[in-house]
Subunit: 119 residues, 2 copies
Amino acid sequence: MDIAGKIKKIREAKGMTAKQVISTVDMGAAMYSRIENGKTEPSLSTLEKIAKALGVSLAEFFNDDNKLDDINSFDASLMEKVKTIDALNDEEKKTVFSIVDAFAGKQKMKDALVSLAAQ
Amino acid sequence: MDIAGKIKKIREAKGMTAKQVISTVDMGAAMYSRIENGKTEPSLSTLEKIAKALGVSLAEFFNDDNKLDDINSFDASLMEKVKTIDALNDEEKKTVFSIVDAFAGKQKMKDALVSLAAQ
DNA sequence: TGTTTAGTTGCTTAATTAATCAAATAAAAA
DNA sequence: TTTTTATTTGATTAATTAAGCAACTAAACA
């Protein structure tokens, strides 16, 4: 989604009117309207003002909704494990993934264990 | 960290020179230098060009390094693995996680293999 | 319906980035 | 060190956003 729609979506999710947003920051209604409708490309400074008024971080405007949906479909404990995996070094990751692939049926489990034992 | 330093950090992490970055996008060296040194505030269009050249999403420039729970910090290949793990049965998941914990806890890999072999 | 509030659009001026070239500096290599 | 390459800085012009005001439209409501 484009950033314009993202801002509007977040604002409406928070139950705020455009007027409420601009009242908390130094910004004219005309400009805000143009931004939310994609009529202009806002500068980072302007986006920061809006983010502050909406009470979100600037990053909120850029993250991928599809990826967010994916993440939310997994339970919390799995995501904790993912963070742990992500923190492993490359060699360790590789090993973990070879085991996962083996279980998933892409390889023989024995092959994975053999290469693992050889380390 | 400001966006300028973030871009430079990502570029260097990828082992690229500024020249390599600008050679893949329509951008002058002077401008790129000013952006990476925070001498100007780049527009979103310009940031998109740079992100593309660096092979990262625009979100990378905005997420907080301290927040590991930022979804954008996980790359696509890792997400594919997560899906695969999620599809495993409970017993298999348990085994995979024991390996992960073994690595993360700096335990001896052998311990994990022993319990695995015992199944 | 008429009224009020919210939101959009047009217009002009000011401020800032983008593009470009040239020159200076820094870094790397021979 | 000398040479080459990479990066930074200055200066000018073009393009675009920002600010501000006014007018118009849409929506909500008494």
